[in-house]
Symmetry: C2
Subunit: 604 residues, 2 copies
């Protein structure tokens, strides 16, 4: 079985986002709908045959730290090897670096299959490709050749090393040091020392080598580290050095997680100098990528990609949970519906999907899951617009809109994908609470998503503080134009006209709230309820994308098609049951409420 | 440490619910505030020293089915033995049956300590005392002596056997048969055969014996079972028969749960006749309790008690999660707050409680957790009112109000206690996602609560269909009078007057929604969005209890006391951030929306 709805994926790609249009651009000219479909088909099959098959086994058999190395179940390596063979690691890279030059949109849809089937195994692909992409963007040809290419082939895997035990969300406070150590063909060489926490894939027995991309600070002449983010530089630090010797990196511990267990998660000590002393000295050897002091700015490319991937994973798990609970609800007989059927106790029990409350929970899941997936694919298509833009202005618009939507793409699917998974458990009743079914694990796996790659609170400040208020609402104007375009399409369709009105109202409430916040003297005061704003703003964005999907349905599909009617109903459900929540949230934010945000600490 | 806030517990018991008043009633005349406090003090200490100590061990070492018997870690037996020695099983029973005759209110507060410390171990106490209480209410003196007394002593443990694999929420469809088998001193004897699913404590190696209370149907002369709930009778079926032989009950399997793992959960086969053949024949021997055909009605006493206990457990876990995340937030330095402090990156990092968003998540937890606990203690006090009523009318009023509030007491803490636990994880960041901290387990344990003892959907139909619409809003009038009483108190206090207005508005919206639903021709149509109604109604009830608590604060506590100010702030937060959600839910229900509830099945 496929863990995604392939009909919906095809609708989103072709009927809604017009993926075929991309093949007219030289970058994608080698491709066609046929090659796209072939990739998606292979992805669905491989996800089912190699990734889903060890979904529970990886949960039940956590990675173990075996003295020196972290060991995972062998099925993970087998799955990743098969994925490398199909070119999954290479799919959207340029052909000069061995890539298949697929559009980001198609690569994203392909990844969705793997994430739905086994998010913890798919995470290795996600991290590795994001790592390689950063290297391709900012590395020297020698650095790309040495560190990126083996990752694009899928022979090596990659990580991102940002957090430290004392600095999780606050990267300004990292203390890992990078001391100059000469230079060679791979660029300026440094010796790194410090501890990195929460390193997914930080060690494993899957790949020949691991490329760590590490944020660290280069001390000044007095040996001091510059406070703040300005002092941060970026380094490529391989587990195995080009000369084949082990670098000075030790696994200091494994984190034992609620879910997502197939992805190893390590505390790494760089530069301990106890077990491995490359070239006879302590200090992990790393090569600087880009300019000194530009580390955080460069890393943001990887972080932004990872944030959208987090949203993709959350969306994929939401779809999977929806489909599994839908299948269960169609098959599980229990009681008799209050409406439509006889309540005669002698009558046969009916499938629970006939109960109104179960339908409510299913349609809510559909509206969250397909809404989240649409949001992520829309962002992927914006990345393709950056690639295919014919003018710098066009490219800048795509970049600005993507920047505005990135915190939403990270957080909304994480929040509502999880809400969907909670409903999937509830539909299964007691069975959903057991490990005999998948839904409790899906929930546990998905629970990481509102935390990693920047918590909800961090995304909220990014959206409201940086992308809206600091940037003086410029990206917001672009989004407004898109929303208005959708509303204008919808208002001419009798089936959607009322929703166009509601979308405009929702957007007007968002703008009015922003206007209140922008008028404050103290910008920090505007951020007190940023998280509430983020949830409400996310709802308006998803409502817009639902209505835009609905326009594609009415324009392109047959009205009698049950798939088409289901999409229209999910859209309507989102507007009726969900969008009013945003109104309440905007009213709360606009009231500048400080009851919680400024609560005196002694009152807790 | 205590897992509850003992100051809050004392406030709720004495300042708010006036527990000392109960000692004026003959039933509780032996008691005083001193004995109440002594019980609570011992409970807190024993919960910490014997229950909390194996919280993680029981999660990591699930019960195992060892051929015949289910084995649990020895600490569970040690904890329950200590609890029996302090009289925990006996605490609110009458002295004639060996009880300590404590008020339900005090027993509930005492249980809250154990549930917060280790809900899975505490569950054995909850099930056993509810089982014994049913027997005391409806059993013959011999049945009470034989089956209830050893449970009140805590030597035996008890279960409730309702669900079957094909009949979870739909008890009308059970097929366990009870065939008459003569009678003896313990009453009419039957032979039972059938499978019972989800039996918490269904087998274990903790107690000498287990008393199963089993719902089954007595076949008619032709051997057929009466359809519907009318044919259900209730039986006491001990694991070990009075003559010391094993009854015909086999453990057919264990359920492996997401959490709550210390409580064994079994599929039991009654009457297989393969391993145990009491008196040489197949069929589990059981004694009928009460009249034939009255089984479900009798079992509702145990179910109602269990439903309030589920709410208590959810509330206790919410309080624990709140306190643990509060402790973490006070100690974990990370970043610098945007408001009030310098953003100078060279300044020391500050505890995360200084971030507005963390305070928001903490105060939301406080408002959910203490609101839920207040709701449950209010219900416990209604049970004491039933006991101490001086007229049948007074008793009937307490019973009616308790009946109306029971589905809310079951569901609201389950829904919002879980929401609180989710915030507790979020405050811990990545650490909260690891098993090194408690909060992910607290969440997993609590996730059972919206499922067992009747799912949310079942509670919603009970509240709206039975307790409101079928009973023609009689109980609702009682609740309205209570709410009005609180609003009248609050409107005379300048600090609370605006909240009195909002409470009346919220209640008016609830009543208006009910009026719309009551006017429908088809009562089933009124129930389509019953779950949404339940959430909104629960919010109004909790808002009322928050305001009532606030009235006790302003009347009895010093305004400068930070505890008092914290309570007032949590009350205000609930009105400002939460109550508006109910308004949106009532509007949705009153619109008679059928987009989801009547979605055609082919559209999913």
């Amino acid at each position: 079985m496929s863990y995604l709805d392939e009909r919906d994926l095809a609708f989103l790609l072709y009927d809604w986002l017009d993926a075929e249009r991309l093949t007219r651009h030289p970058r994608f000219a080698e491709h066609s709908r046929e090659t796209f479909d072939a990739v998606l088909d292979v992805s669905a099959k491989l996800a089912a045959s190699r990734f889903a098959t060890h979904y529970k086994k990886a949960d039940q058999n956590e990675p173990v730290l075996d003295g020196e190395t972290v060991r995972v179940i062998p099925e993970i390596k087998q799955a990743l090897t098969a994925a490398a063979e199909m070119g999954l690691f290479a799919s959207d890279f340029a052909s000069e670096v061995g890539g298949l030059q697929l559009p980001k949109l198609v690569q994203t849809a392909s990844m969705a299959h793997f994430m739905a089937a086994n998010i913890a195994t798919a995470a290795y692909v996600m991290l590795t490709t994001a790592n390689a992409r950063l290297l391709c963007a900012f590395g020297t040809p020698a650095q790309i050749e040495t560190f990126a290419l083996p990752q694009i082939e899928g022979r090596w895997l990659g990580t991102m090393c940002l957090s430290e035990p004392q600095a999780g969300s606050s990267l300004a406070d990292i203390t890992t040091r990078a001391v100059p150590d000469g230079a060679d063909a791979l660029g300026p060489r440094y010796r790194l020392s410090g501890s990195k926490m929460w390193i997914s894939g930080g060690d494993q027995n899957i790949s020949e080598n691991i490329v760590h991309l590490v944020l660290a600070k280069i001390p000044d002449a007095s040996g001091a580290l510059l406070p703040g983010v300005g002092g941060i530089s970026l380094f490529a630090v391989p587990k195995i050095l080009p000369d084949g010797t082990r670098n000075d990196i030790a696994v200091a511990g494994l984190n034992h997680k609620m879910g997502y267990r197939g992805t190893t998660n390590c505390l790494l000590n760089f530069g301990e100098g106890t077990r491995h002393r490359p070239a006879g000295a302590a200090g992990a050897i790393g090569y600087r990528i880009g300019e000194a002091g530009s580390g955080l700015a460069l890393m943001f490319q990887m972080m932004n990609e990872a944030r959208i991937s987090v949203g993709l994973g959350a969306a994929a798990l939401a779809v999977r949970g929806y489909r599994q609970s839908l299948g269960y609800a169609r098959e599980r007989p229990q009681g008799r519906p209050l409406i439509g059927e006889s309540k005669d106790p002698a009558a046969k029990q009916r499938p629970i999907i006939e109960h109104a409350d179960v339908r409510r929970m299913l349609l809510a899941q559909k509206s969250y899951a397909e809404g989240a997936l649409a949001l992520i694919l829309y962002c992927a298509e914006l990345i393709d617009q950056e690639t295919t833009a014919t003018t710098p202005q066009e490219q800048a618009r795509a970049t600005a809109l993507l920047g505005l939507l990135t915190p939403v793409a990270k957080s909304w699917p994480s929040e509502f994908g999880l809400a969907a998974n909670d409903l999937a458990i509830q539909i299964h009743g007691g069975y959903g609470y057991t490990r005999d079914f998948d839904v409790e694990q899906i929930y546990r796996d998905n629970r990481l998503n509102p935390i990693h790659e920047g918590t909800h609170g961090i995304q909220a400040i990014d959206l409201l503080g940086r992308k809206i208020l600091r940037d003086r609402e410029q990206a917001l104007e672009l989004l407004e134009a898109k929303i208005e375009q959708t509303a204008a399409k919808a208002e001419n369709d009798a089936r959607l006209a009322d929703l166009a009105v509601r979308l405009r109202e929702g957007w007007a409430e968002a703008r009015a709230t922003i206007a209140v916040l922008a008028s404050l003297d103290d910008p920090a005061q505007a951020l007190i309820n940023a998280s509430v704003f983020l949830s409400g703003f996310g709802h308006v964005v998803v409502a817009w994308l639902w209505l835009d999907q609905a326009c594609a349905v009415t324009a392109k599909l047959d009205e009698q098609d049950s798939f088409a009617r289901g999409k229209l109903r999910a859209c309507r459900c989102f507007f009726e049951a969900e969008l009013p929540k945003a109104q309440q949230q905007f009213a709360f934010v606009a009231s500048l409420n400080t009851t919680a945000g400024l609560m005196p600490l002694d009152e807790f």
